[in-house]
Symmetry: C2
Subunit: 369 residues, 2 copies
């Protein structure tokens, strides 16, 4: 089964320019997407970057990734058999393309067909119990046999158990660092086995060593690419619960495996069930829940925020900036309170972002840094 047919095919130049753009300072996936909609293509966006950042009050110019650096990265990727693909292109997981902060370019490696099949994420604690590991294996095996690709984070504990049990049908590992900086190092062999039948994906450049904050960021790709995520064992305040929260925000199904209240490793999953996650004791619980979702046509990402050309006056810009502060505010509230047009407000925010002065939270919230 395939999730959706690809619809896009970038030119070499556009791919190179998009890589330069996403590797430049102050540009995350959301800013990238806003810039592309404002400028039409990556070359124009790169040209206009300095001017937009200056208007946003940048005191010194952010670094723009040079053409040489981008060519070097593409070359290094090619040597490792890594493709850089954009949303809508072949081997870009179709559901991942739907999230509002989808990576503009995803580094994909291995047997890339696996990335086009429907995925279920299995995540859980690194120090799982024997019962937890065993159940992750059974579940991964059964879902895999039913045609689903298991996607996880290559971590110790539940993640590796899920990958290993689904190796024969293809499984997908999402990396928090670059493809050449595998974490944990003892899973390099596992990764090589995964690449034989499945794939590894990352939004980070080669050479990037994952730091603590890269893991929650990475987790949005695990949930985003999948129909739903299964939390097998998770203590309270664990990374798996962050993935579950992201899955919820992305409209993905959340499944959780129950455990004894006496066992602290079950606390997180039990809490998820209390909050409405589907209790799972069997692969069929998951298959039954995702089948109706697979039957629905996949909704393409909708951009209600227009980025047509607009030139905010100095007074308007000052009024909008004055309304912002370190406390996050809803974009819609900002538009209402400023009295400016949505187009003007969005342009000012984009300028501020490029100047490194604005942070976008989930749920349409923005704050000054």
């Amino acid at each position: 089964m395939h999730d959706r047919a690809p619809s896009t095919n970038l030119s070499d130049t556009e791919r190179l320019n998009r890589l330069r753009l996403i590797r430049s300072d102050n540009i995350g996936p959301r800013t990238f997407s806003a810039l592309l909609r404002l400028c039409g293509d990556a070359a124009t966006a790169l040209e206009r970057l300095p001017e937009l950042a200056r208007r946003g009050g940048a005191t010194r110019a952010g670094r723009i990734c040079g053409e040489e650096d981008a060519r070097a990265e593409l070359g290094a990727c090619k040597k490792l058999g890594i493709n850089l693909v954009a949303p809508g292109e072949a081997f870009y997981p179709p559901r991942l393309a739907m999230i509002d902060d989808a990576p503009p370019l995803l580094s994909v490696r291995g047997t890339q067909d696996a990335l086009m099949r429907p995925m279920i994420a299995i995540v859980g604690s690194r120090n799982a119990s024997g019962a937890g590991l065993k159940f992750a294996q059974v579940l991964a095996h059964d879902l895999s046999a039913a045609g689903f690709v298991i996607i996880s984070g290559l971590a110790r504990g539940i993640d590796q158990a899920a990958h290993r049990a689904s190796l024969s049908c293809g499984t997908v590992a999402v990396l928090a660092g670059g493809h050449d900086r595998i974490y944990p190092p003892e899973h390099e062999d596992l990764l090589l086995a995964i690449l034989q039948t499945g794939a590894a994906i990352s939004e980070m450049p080669l050479g990037h060593v994952a730091r603590a904050h890269d893991f929650p960021r990475r987790n949005r790709l695990i949930s985003g690419a999948s129909l739903g995520i299964v939390v097998v064992e998770a203590a309270q305040r664990s990374g798996s619960l962050i993935t579950a929260r992201m899955a919820n925000e992305q409209g993905r199904e959340v499944f959780a495996v129950p455990g004894s209240p006496i066992d602290p490793r079950a606390a997180g999953a039990n809490d998820l069930i209390k909050q409405g996650a589907t209790l799972v004791t069997d692969a069929t619980d998951i298959i039954n829940a995702v089948q109706p979702i697979m039957a629905r046509p996949m909704a393409l990402e909708e951009h209600d925020d227009e980025y047509t050309e607009a030139d905010p006056g100095a007074g308007e810009r000052a009024r909008i900036v004055a309304l912002l502060g370190p406390v996050p505010i809803l974009l819609d509230d900002l538009i209402r309170m400023s009295g400016a047009s949505p187009t003007i407000v969005r342009t000012v925010l984009l300028e501020l972002e490029l100047a490194g002065r604005l942070e976008r939270q989930g749920g349409g919230m923005v704050s000054l840094i």
Copy 2:
């Protein structure tokens, strides 16, 4: 806290006659209740029994419990400190009086005040895991400390753990046999400890040794007397699941304690959660759920089925009997299909019951034996 003030007080004669009536052949709680509504009091019902049974087609008269036997039972009860109480009387658990097959007389023994306080049932498997037993103890202790009486079945495993952990505040054991035939025998000491601060109840006569089919019958009292039941560990197709089903039918809350899908002892409780039972990891989960129920005035049992005097003609009786068979049929359907008045249909059914020819299932279903 008290559940409800008692409102009834039987005369000695009425109590004696009611005991005779419920100890007579072919009279279960539902037939008892129908007879009492038809005849007004137990003496009249006893008088009319032979005639009603004959009209129902009894080939030989069912045994009617004699006055001597009933006096003997009352005397033996008195020696053991057992009271026989009717729904609405002091020490008859108020919520138990609300179920449609409430025992017409309940044998109560011990510190009977406990029977008037709000109860939570804790039930589970006899061969529970260490984690299950530990959790039952913690839960029973915490609910008990919060003012709830723990009610259970005195069985090995979860039941005894729940009783023991709530001994200091009073706990209620529901027996499947007579008060002098404790099962399992090794729990006689536990029962004596329970009677110090709590109580034991039974609907069976002294001397009755519980047989297999008495346990599910007893379980309806555990669920019926309580605000809700907690299933701690239960394999599939276990007695605890029968109690949960009865709790559902009686409109009681059903709580279940999750466990690993790898552990077969958790399968029943996990299934209950899938079917809508509230997942419990903590006493507060239960307290929060039952508090709004306690705040509502308790609904008195409503009898929409009238038993005013009616004399079915031979033709009408034959038509109703012809519609009945071994496959259960809804009373409402029977009324509609027979074309007879509800009063006539109910009278014919009562006659058939007394003749030992009719069985009443839950949910208003009846069948011929």
